[in-house]
């Protein structure tokens, strides 16, 4: 009894004191190629390499927790996980709730249609009267709803498999970040193509709970990201998975929100 009390005290003390090696619990969907996906039961991708690299810099253990994308924000709030590595875009709504690290991916929103573009979509203006698939709870849903013609767009939210539904013609288009659409088109057998130019700049970062522990973790991880940017490791991870370095702001200035 007494022993277990001591052990419990030691445990709680350990959780308060900044331990030498913490475990950072990272939420990700495991279903977002090439950022986080599974092959033969092995979780891999850009985000997995990136977080492991952060762990190497800070000396912490990284524990990946896979869950549906739409459940991740709730899981972060309720302390089931410590951060989300799922190409989470910085938005005012999310900034009101969480503290973000510096961006580690700069990207744009991209419309993708079935190869041949029979629906004739060249940009967001052409989406009127069309059905467009987006991932549930994603920033792209927000971006579509903010378009001037959003009332005329049939926005359909999905938990997963959006590229499949465009490929088989069930919906006219899907919207995702430009970088992964390029990878999906290259690697997937589905007949798809990009339609028009990216229509909104997005910056993706790691969110943390806005409390003392969350802020401390954010500062630690943020310093590690700076290190990874300076030593070229982050660019290397980007090249490996995306065949491009998307970790720096684009040279041409897209009008940011």
């Amino acid at each position: 009894m007494f022993k277990s009390l001591i052990a419990a005290l030691a445990l709680s003390a350990a959780s308060i004191a900044p331990a030498a090696a913490d475990t950072i619990r990272v939420g990700m969907s495991g279903g977002y190629f090439p950022f986080t996906f599974v092959e033969q039961d092995v979780l891999q991708g850009f985000e997995v390499d990136f977080l492991n690299a952060i762990g190497e810099v800070t000396g912490d253990d990284i524990e990946f927790v896979t869950m549906s994308f739409s459940g991740q924000i709730g899981a972060l709030e309720s302390n089931r996980i410590d951060t989300i590595a799922n190409q989470l875009t910085i938005t005012p709504e999310r900034e009101a709730k969480f503290v973000f690290s510096q961006p580690y991916v700069y990207d744009g929103a991209q419309i993708v249609v079935r190869r041949g573009n029979e629906v004739g979509i060249g940009g967001p203006d052409d989406l009127s009267g069309k059905s467009v698939a987006v991932n549930l709870g994603s920033n792209f849903e927000e971006l579509l709803r903010e378009l001037p013609n959003s009332a005329d767009i049939d926005i359909r939210t999905y938990e997963s498999n959006i590229e499949q539904d465009v490929a088989i013609g069930r919906v006219d288009a899907f919207v995702m970040d430009r970088v992964s659409t390029g990878q999906v088109i290259a690697k997937s057998p589905a007949p798809l193509e990009q339609a028009g130019e990216p229509f909104s700049e997005i910056r993706n970062a790691l969110p943390f709970r806005n409390d003392e522990a969350g802020n401390a973790l954010r500062d630690k991880v943020d310093a590690a990201i700076t290190t990874l940017k300076e030593n070229g490791k982050l660019a290397e991870i980007s090249e490996k998975w995306l065949d491009a370095d998307v970790t720096q702001p684009a040279a041409e200035t897209v009008p940011a929100e």
Binding site: Q40, T66, S78, S160, P189
Partner: protein, 224 residues
């Protein structure tokens, strides 16, 4: 003409099979808990204990009247907003609790019907030798009711096995979740979901075979 990537499917079989124990563990835990809960609920209803009887009727009505997916979401994503302590419950536990509550409502009704299906003369005979209500139930009625309810309860177990596939919506990587993630990386949706469908089918057939054996044995004493 689409050609199935058989090589990929064969490679995926051991991966998905690796999640069978997790699926069966979830299903078994939910089955045992639901059986116990259902038996208790059924007895309350048979004895028509005031107030409790009405509460049990309400419980059964709710859990039979709403989809399992809605119940799981209510419990896992909804309630923690009100009761912060619930947020510490992980997806697997939440799925097991959800399956237990949902299926106990159905099972309670089958068990109640089975108890009422035991011939009235059995109750009267037990009463004539001075047994209490609980003794009659435990020694005479429930064993006979079990035989009547067994096939239905086995069917619910099979239903539970299939329903564990919904746990992936709570972030649990079970058979369905594993297939979903593999498909997201390979884009071979048809292949991945076919593999998982075939494995579920095999599991259910395996348990159906045992169900038939069990029924035959239980009915042997009553063969005319």
């Amino acid at each position: 003409m689409y050609t199935l990537n058989l090589e990929y499917m064969i490679g995926l079989v051991p991966v998905i099979l690796g999640y069978v124990p997790k699926t069966l563990a979830m299903a078994s835990a939910a089955m045992v808990a639901a059986l116990i809960l259902a038996a208790v609920l059924a007895v309350f209803r048979v004895f028509k204990i005031p107030v409790i009887d009405q509460l049990v009727a309400l419980f059964i009505s709710f859990f039979r009247g709403t989809p399992l997916l809605v119940q799981l979401f209510l419990f896992y994503y909804g309630l923690p907003q009100v009761f912060a302590s619930l947020a510490s419950i992980d997806g697997i536990t939440a799925a097991i609790i959800g399956l237990t509550l949902h299926f106990s409502a159905y099972m309670a009704e089958s068990i109640r019907a089975a108890i009422l299906g035991v011939d009235r003369s059995q109750w009267e005979a037990s009463e004539s030798i001075g047994m209490t209500r609980w003794q009659m139930l435990r020694r005479i009625v429930l064993p006979q009711a079990a035989r009547i309810a067994a096939p239905t309860l086995m069917n619910y177990f099979i239903d539970i096995i299939k329903s564990t596939s919904l746990a992936f919506t709570l972030g649990v990587t079970e058979m369905m979740g594993a297939a979903q993630k593999e498909a997201a990386g390979s884009f071979l949706y048809l292949e991945a979901f076919l593999v998982v469908a075939i494995i579920y089918w095999g599991l259910v057939e395996f348990f159906s075979f045992f169900q038939r054996q069990l029924e035959r044995r239980m009915n042997r004493a009553f063969a005319r």
